[in-house]
């Protein structure tokens, strides 16, 4: 019995040791297409990947390591596609440049950050100025009517995404003027469902998150118009729901695109089905001509970003077609 245990474990150990040694020599190459990045863009790429894999049998994997984490891998050449809820930033551009990774930037959807309140709340419209009053650093607004005298005399309870989220970055930039500049005494969660629950249960609550979470929970939430404009596909597409609408992107490694025919086919399928995919996921699709620009850039191999490493906050959809990508 005794020596049996010893032999068994020593056998196992040497087996593992030899596996480590052997597998260290061979590079890993399993998935044919690798995507990673933003959790916001994930549902879109996941659906495209799932459809593509079912119809073609090609293996596609999608990871979630956040927009920043995704770009880190992408600029090392580890992934083929990087999902991003904002354009590539200066620092990431430099990393890509240093590693010789060229990319094609493809807008894939629009997202409208939606301000939600409890359905019993009489407020239905809010200005960006009042939002800033409520959400900016140092704000000590405790009641709705302290932000605007036409609002009810009720305490205000705030819900928002946690500081690691791209949504938080975008909202604070667009409303308070600087990314991550926000009051901190609100209930924060990286899980948007927690925010949905919070706002739907508290009649004094206000929160914000991506449009999809509002759309799937319309029965228990009420979306506020911002400066008189309601968040909707129409208002996002015609550019009136501003500044809280933002484009979502996928970035494609240009070198891998040349060498991997499957990647090319996958992206064609993705872009051709983008409108339908967006509708199914509950995101706001871009107009078809924007997807055609994406296809054109893919076939011409037009690399680079439109935004020069900066985060745009007051973008019109037409800009996505008119602005030229630069390396």
């Amino acid at each position: 019995m005794a020596s049996k245990i010893f032999n068994r474990s020593s056998l196992m150990f040497s087996a593992i040791a030899s596996i480590v040694a052997v597998s260290g020599l061979a590079p890993t190459a399993q998935a044919q297409i690798k995507a990673d990045g933003s959790s916001t863009v994930f549902p879109l790429t996941e659906r495209a990947a799932s459809d593509f894999q079912k119809s073609s049998g090609k293996k596609v994997t999608v990871g979630v390591s956040g927009t920043g984490g995704g770009f880190k891998k992408f600029c090392k050449g580890e992934t083929d596609i990087s999902n991003a809820s904002r354009p590539i930033l200066e620092k990431e551009l430099k990393a890509c440049r240093d590693a010789g990774v060229k990319f094609i930037e493809i807008p894939i959807a629009m997202d409208a950050l939606t301000i939600v309140v409890n359905p019993s709340n009489p407020v239905s419209d809010i200005s960006t100025g009042d939002l800033k009053k409520i959400w900016d650093t140092g704000s000590n607004i405790k009641k709705w009517n302290e932000a605007n005298s036409s609002f009810p005399d009720l305490p205000i309870k705030l819900f928002g995404p946690g500081a690691d989220s791209g949504t938080f970055d975008y909202f604070t930039e667009a409303i308070n003027g600087k990314a991550k500049q926000s009051r901190t005494d609100f209930t924060g969660s990286e899980d948007d469902n927690v925010l949905v629950q919070g706002v739907s249960r508290d009649k004094n609550a206000m929160g914000y998150f991506g449009f999809a979470y509002y759309q799937k929970n319309q029965g228990r939430l009420k979306a506020l118009s911002v400066n008189g404009v309601a968040p909707s596909l129409q208002n996002v597409t015609n550019g009136t729901y501003r500044p809280l609408s933002r484009p979502l992107f996928v970035y494609v490694n240009a070198e891998k695109l040349k060498n991997n025919g499957d990647l090319r086919t996958f992206l064609d399928v993705y872009l051709n089905g983008a409108t339908e995919i967006n509708n199914k996921v509950g995101y706001l699709p871009l107009p078809v001509y924007i997807y055609n620009v994406g296809k054109k850039h893919l076939s011409e191999g037009k690399t680079g970003t439109r935004f020069g490493g900066k985060e745009p906050t007051n973008l019109k959809i037409a800009d996505l077609a008119n602005m030229q990508p630069k390396d």
Binding site: I19, T28, K73
Partner: protein, 315 residues
Amino acid sequence: MATSISSPSSSTPLSPIQLSVIQRKRRSNLFSAAGIVSILIALMTLIALVLQLFIQGLPKLNWQFLTSFADPEASLAGVLAALVGSCLVMLVTAATAVPVGIGAGLYLEEYVTRNKFSALIEINVTNLAGVPSIVYGLLALGLFKYYFSLGESILTAGLTLALLVLPVVIVATRESVRAIPSSLREATYAMGASKSQMVFDHLLPYAFGNILTGVIIGLSRAIGETAPLVTIGALTFIAFLPESPIQSSFPFISFEWLKAPFTVLPIQMFNWVSRPESEFQVNAAAAGIVLLSLTLMMNSIAIYLRYRIQKSLKW
């Protein structure tokens, strides 16, 4: 319980000693009541959580759920890739952490010469057990993924979690070896056994049951980990399985699966929980039941092994 402190009839006055006894008994009863309450609080929370998980997830839990891949449609989605991933990662973790951990524990307890250096190692090993798991993830990212270029593979994940489990196994090994009376060691030497014979033929078999308990505590912690695995590149959507370890052609055994990309149950669960559609919450609960069952299964295997080993012992 309450009968012992029923107050005596008021007609006979109590002596100071009797009074003091009553008072102390009352205090002791109060303490045991507090104990029961705290156990109940812990237990009720656990039961409520598990019950909620089962009520929410059980309707979804069927063969189709266990044998389907992740899917954007909640009704079609299943846990196959995550279940297989979790099992394979745990296999690598156990196969690495158990022999290395037991070896290290035995060395520290039986072989090492006590000096400042060994004291330093000991303090470090004990502290390692409390290091946040994300730190192991970062270490593994640099060491396994980039330095040894093992990639974002099951092997990398298994080794990462093995690091996490290792201190627990080492501490458990040391404690169970220490609990064996030294008369046993001396008796073995008296029969002319060498040190390694003593350790491997006597000490280890007797201690193995308790070591297993430590191993299971470690593995149960590891199976629920997401943070270090996300760091080293575990996936969220993967709809194919690693290559089978058993092949139909020569050499019949393949280790290709060690290099395969993967996801694990807790990552799958987290992804489902954070989706807007409520159908996915049900999926997450069902995946929770699967994860819970996997942990219970690991536990019962360990309990069975311990029982077998202890039964075969003749002191």
